[in-house]
């Protein structure tokens, strides 16, 4: 049987010569992402800003009566609801932010959800309530703090490990790649205004895990080559390492992207945003391992002495000096 080879043997693509352009593009994208988050903001779900969200299905109807719903929920005096389709035409989610005075009365979010459910059931007897989420202001700010704190702790923890296991430049490179991937994912969410909830934090964590995995595989090869080819100049050595692992990068990315694309297309609507985030993050993660974390080593001045004990470094310098003379 002839086996499939996605990347032909002895591929030698000069990835690193594009590094400055790629870096420029990445910086631009990151700035754009930050600007998007700053101007449009993230569409935070009730998990993070509190309030209530109800998922409804209008059984046996073509489409959900969005306008009628907006009116009947609006009558309750909590403000204007955000009504969004999810899944089929007759399924909508109704979201409402915390009303005024909710900080004094923690139970208000839940009371509001109960009233809205009762009102919808009264005005639209055919409705089926599929889910109710209500979160008070205090609980949502705790979830927000804990979620983001966990994210930062995880990113820092792994960077410290990479630092110990490799060199500090590698740790910085890994962190930079993580910041890059996460910033772009935030940008995607600000751009598309997909709902940002606790599940998305789990997706971001998966992206961190994956991106790091990718970075480490390439770093491991760089370390190996640094010790093997002491005299090769760094850009060439990085290119060699990236090319040697390219077949693995492509293979792994494709195998993981396949189920994710399936999830995006056929998966439950509840995790649509989640699946999109993961697929996007994994794509960006593969790119950043090649174009962010590897070139970072050049800028941070890694060289073939980085993995040799200090006294041997002195020896090797003498050696090289001697070679120069001959």
């Amino acid at each position: 049987m002839k086996l499939l080879k996605l990347v032909p043997d002895n591929t030698n693509i000069g990835f690193l010569k594009w590094r400055n352009i790629a870096f420029g593009v990445s910086i631009l994208l990151m700035v754009a992402s930050i600007a998007l988050v700053a101007t449009r903001g993230l569409n935070f779900g009730v998990d993070f800003i509190g309030g209530q969200m109800i998922r409804t299905t209008f059984v046996g109807e073509q489409a959900a009566p969005v306008e009628a719903l907006r009116e009947s929920v609006g009558e309750l005096g909590y403000g204007e609801p955000t009504i969004q389709r999810f899944g089929a035409e007759n399924q909508v989610s109704i979201r409402m932010k915390l009303p005024d005075g909710a900080d004094k009365k923690p139970e208000l979010a839940n009371v509001m959800a109960e009233k809205i459910v009762a009102k919808i059931k009264e005005d639209h007897p055919k409705v089926r309530i599929d889910g109710v989420d209500s979160v008070s202001g205090k609980v949502s700010s705790e979830l927000f703090e804990k979620g983001f704190f966990a994210l930062i702790a995880a990113a820092l923890g792994v960077a410290v490990y990479v630092w110990f296991r490799f060199e500090w430049q590698f740790g910085m490179g890994a962190i930079w790649a993580l910041v890059h991937d996460i910033t772009l994912t935030f940008g995607l969410f600000a751009l598309t205004q997909m709902e940002f909830d606790l599940n998305i934090i789990a997706a971001l964590l998966t992206i961190i895990g994956y991106s790091l995995n990718d970075t480490i595989v390439i770093y491991d090869r760089i370390r190996e080559n640094l010790m093997k080819f002491r005299k090769m100049d760094l850009p060439a050595l990085l290119d060699l390492s990236v090319n040697e692992t390219l077949s693995r990068t492509v293979m792994t990315s494709l195998t993981i992207l396949t189920p994710l694309v399936v999830l995006v297309l056929f998966g439950p609507d509840v995790i649509f945003g989640f699946s999109v985030a993961m697929a996007f993050g994994i794509f960006v993660g593969s790119y950043s391992s090649i174009y962010q974390s590897a070139p970072f080593l050049i800028w941070f001045g890694v060289n073939s002495d980085s993995f040799v004990p200090a006294e041997k470094v002195a020896d090797s310098k003498v050696e090289r000096l001697n070679e120069g003379k001959v």
């Binding site: 086996l3 109710v132 966990a150 990479v162 964590l205 895990g209 995995n213 189920p259 399936v262 439950p268």
Partner: protein
């Protein structure tokens, strides 16, 4: 490389069979599981509420209310202690502002005696003091709650609140709730399969503090309507008041509380056929109730539930039997709910719903169905990629992948862990890691062969060289998972748990198991070339 000791082969195979057996029950329908005799391990993974449907309710104690209640009860104790002191100590200007109880001892000469009499009042059961006594201006005494006192009181209140909730939900039957205390002032109630928790919330959210007080019949109705009461009275809400004013004035003192009950049940009024609740006092409560009704025959008394008057009937004759009937525009359902609440005891502290997550069975089923389709198609695609790219080695990798999934499920079932939506994300990541490990190994073997190494040497190097990267990549994921578990909240923890289990099993299956299969094949077939 070829030496794979027999004991290791036996051990690994045993482990494989065990994992498959332990994972199996999670796939069997419940009716099959019921037929398996007890004693045979048949734990299954439970699906989280987000997948299976159900309600998650987070209740938070009203700590301010608890502090107010404590102040009120310390005031009672202080007044009693002063009255019973020999000679009696008179106090005046009693206030409960600023979170402390403060009063003036009328005769400054008695200040030391007052202080002495207060000592047993403020002492707690473990020898410390729940309140600090402070004397200012020579005759003013303040009782300030000690921090430990408030903490202990909250802790006790939350423990008994949990028991009360447990009793109430159990009284309804059929539901299988999980009730856990969370932090200092919260309780989580999770009920699988319950999509409309309205009735449940009403049941567990009701404090069920029952009181009987005399109506202040001399109160000016206009004043009452404005919420103003005269000295010795207080105005309470009374939504069903036949006069139309939703308030009523009651006498502060001389009432009795409903905590001295031995039972309550729903019944019907013999004349009006209305739904009512019959309550039965214990010995002491019955006597006090009898005395109150004897002394006040012909007057109105208010039945107060959670600070709200539910009815105010006239006492036609003394009630001596210790049994009383509470009416107040109940439906059969609300009457039996009240009976359950009264039977299970009052909540020692007001609880408020601060978070609710309810998922209907249809949405949950939708999630599971499309999740399953995605998982199956995804797995098939991954296996196909692996086999097309690496041939025989891809088949071994596929076995390892399937075994990995079974192992994760087996471990989760053993610990009775819950699979949630974020948990599925963890699954995807670990499967990714397992695939990656095999890709790394196989790519390395290819590379070594290209460099002209002999078959056995290439395989050996492949495993050896790839292990380093596999190890580093997985350690970092373990670090991330542990940190997430420590710092994350509910859903993130679900992710972290799957990740921690999955990383261990994926390295194990992707490296150790494939190595065993490959080495046994090499030993048997002695291939001269590798198709990889």
């Amino acid at each position: 490389m070829l030496d794979f000791p027999r004991w290791r082969v036996i051990m690994l195979n045993t482990l494989m069979v065990l994992s498959l057996l332990l994972a199996l029950p999670s796939f069997l329908p419940k009716s099959w599981l019921d037929r398996i005799p007890d004693g045979v391990p048949k734990q299954t993974i439970s699906l989280g509420l987000d997948l299976a449907g159900g309600s998650h309710i987070l209740l938070e104690a009203d700590t301010a209310q608890l502090a107010r209640d404590r102040l009120e009860s310390i005031e009672d104790s202080v007044r009693t202690a002063m009255r019973r002191a020999e000679p009696r100590i008179t106090i005046e200007a009693v206030t409960r502002t600023g979170g402390k109880l403060s009063f003036i001892v009328t005769d400054p000469a008695q200040i030391d005696a007052a202080r002495e009499a207060l000592l047993p009042v403020v002492a707690n059961s473990v020898g410390g003091r729940d309140w600090t006594i402070e004397v200012t201006d020579g005759n003013r005494i303040s009782l300030i709650p000690a921090a430990t006192g408030n903490t202990t009181a909250l802790d006790q209140a939350m423990n008994s609140a949990k028991d009360v909730i447990d009793r109430r939900i159990n009284a309804v039957g059929t539901l299988e709730p999980t009730i856990i205390r969370q932090g200092a002032d919260r309780i989580v109630v999770q009920v699988p399969g319950l999509d409309d928790p309205q009735a449940l919330k009403e049941l567990i959210g009701k404090t069920a503090k029952l009181e009987f007080k005399l109506v202040d019949e001399g109160a000016d109705p206009e004043q009452t309507a404005q919420g103003k009461a005269r000295v010795g009275s207080q105005v309470l809400p009374y939504p069903d008041n036949p006069t139309g004013i939703p308030y009523i004035a009651v006498r502060r003192l001389g009432g009795i509380s409903g905590d001295k009950l031995t039972g309550a049940q729903q019944s019907f009024d013999q004349q009006t056929n209305e739904a009512v609740v019959i309550i039965q006092f214990d010995g002491e409560g019955g006597q006090r109730f009898a005395r109150m009704t004897q002394q006040n025959t012909g007057k109105l008394f208010a039945i107060i539930l959670d600070g709200q008057v539910i009815s105010a009937p006239r006492i036609n004759e003394p009630i001596l039997g210790g049994t009383s009937q509470i009416s107040g525009s109940f439906t059969v359902e609300s009457a039996s709910q009240l009976a359950i609440a009264l039977n299970s005891g009052a909540l020692p502290v007001n609880l408020k719903v601060v978070e609710e997550r309810s998922v209907g069975p249809d949405l949950g089923a939708d999630s599971i169905r499309s999740g399953m389709i995605a998982a199956l198609v995804g797995t098939a695609a991954v296996l196909m990629w692996m086999i097309l790219s690496y041939g025989r080695f891809g088949i071994y990798a596929s076995y390892a992948l399937v075994l990995n999934v079974a192992m994760i499920l087996a471990v989760m079932a053993m610990f009775n862990a819950t699979l949630t939506l974020p948990g599925i994300a963890g699954f995807v990541l670990t499967i990714g890691a397992a695939v990656d490990a095999n890709v790394l190994i196989n790519e390395r073997i290819r590379e070594e062969r290209r460099k002209g190494r002999r078959v056995i040497q290439a395989i050996e190097n492949g495993y050896k060289e790839a292990s380093r990267a596999i190890f580093d990549a997985n350690i970092t994921n373990v670090i991330a998972a542990v940190l997430l578990f420590i710092f994350g909240s509910g859903p993130i923890r679900g992710f972290a748990v799957v990740l921690m289990i999955g990383i261990v099993t994926s390295v194990f299956t992707a490296v150790t198991f494939t190595r065993m299969w490959v080495s046994r094949w090499v030993k048997r077939a002695r291939p001269q070339d590798l198709n990889i």
